[in-house]
Symmetry: C2
Subunit: 285 residues, 2 copies
């Protein structure tokens, strides 16, 4: 039976593209918010949920990290990395030279600003609530209009694709997290995501924490400090490292970490995404 996979909807988003890359046979269910995806996983309505976690176009990464930190029963079971490529689309038969309005989410419009100024100087940018809703806004427009949206939206709507890869900075990817009630069994090419804070604000605490990984030759993929909501001076640290929490040397590093740390939340161990490899990985025998 196909697994039920919730995602930040609606259909046509980059998150749906991530779901299709992750498991083309899953039964997909759109949810209106990242929090709603997480709650459905916690409630057992879904086996897994897919939400953006890093470098998203939609500003929703903080929601995902806050969700993971506040919901101790949620874990990251996998990741999917999707190249972000903006498409320009319009109602069939629209003459590009006559386009008066270009709809999209303001962030997508900002990412295509130079392209629009050069190629559609006569067109006015107009805000939509999402890149997907931009397509319906463009179709409903009384004047000739186009939308900046994901490729997937051009498959789900009756539109002409006028151009693709129109973002001013060519290379852009979004990393998505697969949320579940448990993380993934070891596969031999795993990573572990964690969040921690310190009780006191002493110089060197983060350095010593990272030392537990460095001394064991564990590669650090990502480190980020984010202000906690209480005050700007207190930070929560988010770290992604190579290795699985059930295997040495990661297991030993995590055990050694606990000393000066006031909160350690292991967000999950899961296979590293490889575009060509098996996305879900196979548990070791």
């Amino acid at each position: 039976m196909a697994r039920t996979l919730g995602f930040l909807g609606p259909s046509g988003t980059y998150t749906e593209e991530a779901c299709l890359l992750y498991d083309p046979s899953a039964e997909l269910r759109p949810y209106p918010t990242i929090t709603a995806v997480g709650q459905a996983v916690v409630a057992g309505e879904l086996e897994e949920g897919v939400v953006p976690i890093e470098n998203s176009l939609e500003g929703s990464v903080n929601f995902t990290l806050d969700l993971l930190i506040s919901q101790p029963s949620l874990f990251i079971k996998g990741e999917v990395v999707v190249p972000i490529e903006h498409y320009l689309m319009a109602k069939p038969g629209t003459d590009p030279a006559k386009i008066k309005v270009v709809y999209s989410h303001p962030q997508a419009l900002a990412q295509c600003r130079e392209y629009l100024e050069k190629n559609f100087p006569q067109a006015e940018p107009m805000a939509s609530l999402s890149t997907v809703l931009a397509v319906s806004d463009a179709i409903a427009s009384p004047v000739p209009a186009a939308a900046i949206a994901p490729r997937r939206a051009s498959e789900l709507n009756d539109v002409d694709v006028l151009d693709r890869g129109i973002q001013d900075v060519a290379a852009n990817v979004t990393r998505f997290a697969v949320l579940s009630l448990s993380d993934h069994a070891p596969t031999g090419r795993d990573k572990t995501s964690m969040a921690f804070t310190f009780d006191v604000d002493t110089p060197g605490l983060l350095y010593h924490a990272l030392g537990e990984f460095a001394e064991r030759g564990i590669n650090l993929f990502k480190v980020e400090s984010r202000p906690t909501k209480q005050s700007l001076g207190q930070y929560i640290f988010l770290v992604d490292c190579a290795g699985h929490r059930e295997e040495s040397p990661m297991k030993d590093a995590l055990a050694a970490l606990s000393q000066p740390i006031s909160m350690l939340r292991i967000l999950g161990s899961y296979p590293q995404w490889t575009p060509t490899g098996s996305p879900t990985g196979s548990p070791k025998p």
Copy 2:
């Protein structure tokens, strides 16, 4: 003579609020983009420019960091921390019970989602290109409408303030950077921002780099790894530490850093923002 201070416009943004906190007597000039502010500083049109750098509502932080990394003549001369408080405003005389539409930037709408569902269940959220343009969208609306926008926008427009502090998560601040052709002289309570990358992807390089600060008792305010545009696996590290680059121990730590590092860009040393203290700080005699 008042200093000329450029900012990410238009008037009424949180960035303008940051300018007024930084230097109430400055001559303010709005610019359409973060890049335009930076270019005007580089070209000598402006003495200083103010742009959001961290935790912004407008998704523009990456633009600022990219600007600083790509423009070696730009430095951070100061910082300003502004509490983000969303106001709900409408045309004078609007009956709140009859509001049919609420305009704002999609991120601000998302940040006030629970508030709107509870207090304006009959109102439809509508996207605007910015929180400031939301005010003119609401004023021009043929049906009763409100806008979510900064306090400053309520002073610059003929509107009634219907509510304030309507964001679902109460505590939210944005940090702004003051850009200039030089950074700030030492004041005794400074911080230094830097960006660096490594040639090779060896475990522990970041750890050893942070060690140069930790061993000297230098407090780390912020560390962030960001994917470089070339490939997802290569990172640029952004670090904020206590101290001034011209003073020990920071000066010694920076000198020691250079060994395993392929690129080190000191973005500037500048006084730490204190809401009650002198925003610009005074150079030491």
